[in-house]
Amino acid sequence: MLKKELVCIVCPNGCQVEALIEETPALKVLEVSGCTCDKGIAWVEQEIVNPMRTIASSIVVEQGDFELVSVRTDTAIPLGKIFEVMDIIQHKRVKAPVTIGDRLIENPAGVPCHIIATRNVGVQP
């Protein structure tokens, strides 16, 4: 049994959390204390087993009234996959126009998420 201290990142409250963990036979969260909401408890359980993050970046737009369109993953992805996904984002090019919510990349690096636009980019006048 192992005690682990974490800062919950679900919301800006940033609760300081303690989790009791069993490592064998399989990684398992036995008890969570310090969370002030249910979402936090679920996050801690996930964080111990497989930490997940939403990432935000930007993609080059061709013929846009703006050089870049800001993007994010539409759902949290495994922390360990971030740089693989970033690599795909960095090399992607899209054509204007782009609308908020447009799905610009599907399942980058095989990760079950989509990269969506977070701003509108019009066509270069």
Partner: protein, 414 residues
């Protein structure tokens, strides 16, 4: 020169100005004008492409541009008038505004004015950072603009001074883009930014955060070549024996934000020393009748959600001022920051309506109670597990509890 009239003029089209305009319209006011100096609405949110906005307002983790767009869409749907690429040159205490744009000079007589100009970043000059003046030294917000809006690679090896939220966000952003962030240095013994940002922006990427440590010299005559850092004692004096050189080509400064109140000063608005923002009553009216203030120009907020909420209240107050020609209630009750409280807002209240006190504490504390008292009698209180200077605290006060109050004092009891 052309002089036009508007019932309400809002200066600044960032989150505060947008929310104030929308709220004013929804409260029945028709003749509203919003003035924005940029080409687009949304203010600084446009460059804050990370997520985490709107958790309170929309129960979703939106990015800055997405959060802004929701307000921009609503603003346009309501058909509110806006002047873009227009700068306010001056505002006087009779609410006359001079503006300039490509179309020319215009004077506007406003029935009421809402100040929502936001804030600016403290600079290397403002903190008297010693050493040379090479290129490669940026405020975190300027760096964010260059990277997120202008597609510029600003550096390879980065040091960040100050652990404000923008600095932490930029540490992650630059790491994701392939730069090496050598370290974040913070003069204070605690991080200035939110705990979740320390976790997801630094810890996730093994970026070290050195507390009670600061940059003491910049090196390099052309481009930055490195910085001298050292630890400080309790009085923030450098500990000579801890001095060390950290090579880097880029230094980002995240050392604080200052409300942009130059226009407010021109109108004779009284400012408060701690917040560098206006002193306001519970309608968020400043010392000059008919001039209101909200958002980061009033006090630097932790979350945009709080800005929007505050601005909506101010929009409503401004409408009441315009339509009912309300004058300030004569019996104003002062509110003062006491034990462990850095500042409180508003600074005076009428005592006739319920209101919310916003405050920040001076130091991190655990299991505290924010107490609001009138001559030792408790009128409101809030239990809080963790109190941190980075976080704004809000406490509701009922008017019926302060009917006889002369002065309210806000303190923290642990």
């Amino acid at each position: 020169m052309q002089v036009i009239k508007r019932d309400l003029v809002i200066i600044g089209g960032g989150p505060a100005g947008l929310a104030a305009a929308i709220s004013a319209r929804k409260n029945g006011l028709k003749d509203i004008l919003l003035i924005e100096r940029d080409k687009i609405l949304g203010g600084i949110l446009n460059q804050c492409i990370h997520d985490g906005f709107g958790l309170h307002t929309f129960r979703e983790a939106l990015t800055g541009p997405e959060y802004a767009q929701r307000y921009i869409d609503e603003f346009h749907k309501l058909g509110i008038e806006v002047m873009l690429e227009t700068i306010v040159l001056s505002l006087d205490n009779n609410r006359q505004i001079s503006v300039s744009s490509k179309e020319g000079f215009v004077k506007i007589q406003a029935g009421a004015v809402i100040l929502s100009m936001g804030c600016r970043e403290r600079t290397a000059g403002a903190i008297s950072l010693p050493g040379t003046r090479p290129s490669g030294v940026y405020t975190a917000g300027a760096a964010q603009n260059f990277i997120n809006l202008q597609n510029k690679q600003i550096g390879n090896r980065v040091v960040i001074l100050g652990s404000g939220d923008i600095g932490l966000i930029m540490a992650r952003r630059m790491t994701l883009e392939g730069a090496t962030v050598a370290a974040v240095f913070e003069l204070l013994p605690t991080p200035s930014g939110l705990a979740r940002n320390v976790q997801q922006c630094l810890n996730d990427y093994d970026i070290p955060l050195f507390l009670s440590t600061s940059v003491f010299e910049l090196h390099g005559t052309d481009r930055l070549t490195g910085v001298t850092v050292a630890s400080v004692d309790e009085t923030f004096q450098m500990i000579e024996s801890t001095k060390r050189f950290v090579p880097c080509d880029t230094l980002l400064l995240s050392v604080g934000l200052i409300p942009e109140n130059e226009l407010s000063l021109g109108a004779g608005v009284n400012l408060e020393a701690t917040t560098s923002g206006a002193t306001v009553d519970d309608t968020y009216m400043t010392s000059v009748p008919g001039i209101f203030s909200c958002g980061n120009v009033l006090h630097v907020h932790d979350l945009v959600d709080h800005v929007s909420e505050e601005a909506a209240l101010v929009g409503q107050s401004a409408v009441r001022y315009v339509t009912q020609k309300t004058v300030r209630d004569s019996a104003s009750i002062p509110i003062e920051a006491k034990q462990d409280v850095r500042y409180v807002l508003p600074q005076t209240v009428s005592g006739k309506t319920d209101f919310t006190v916003s405050l920040r504490v001076t130091r991190p504390m655990a299991n505290g109670v924010v107490m609001i008292k009138d001559k030792g009698r408790k009128v409101a209180g809030k239990k809080i597990v963790r109190l941190h200077p980075a976080e704004m605290i809000r406490v509701k006060v009922k008017a019926k509890n302060i009917e006889t109050a002369e002065k309210l004092e806000v303190s923290v009891q642990c």
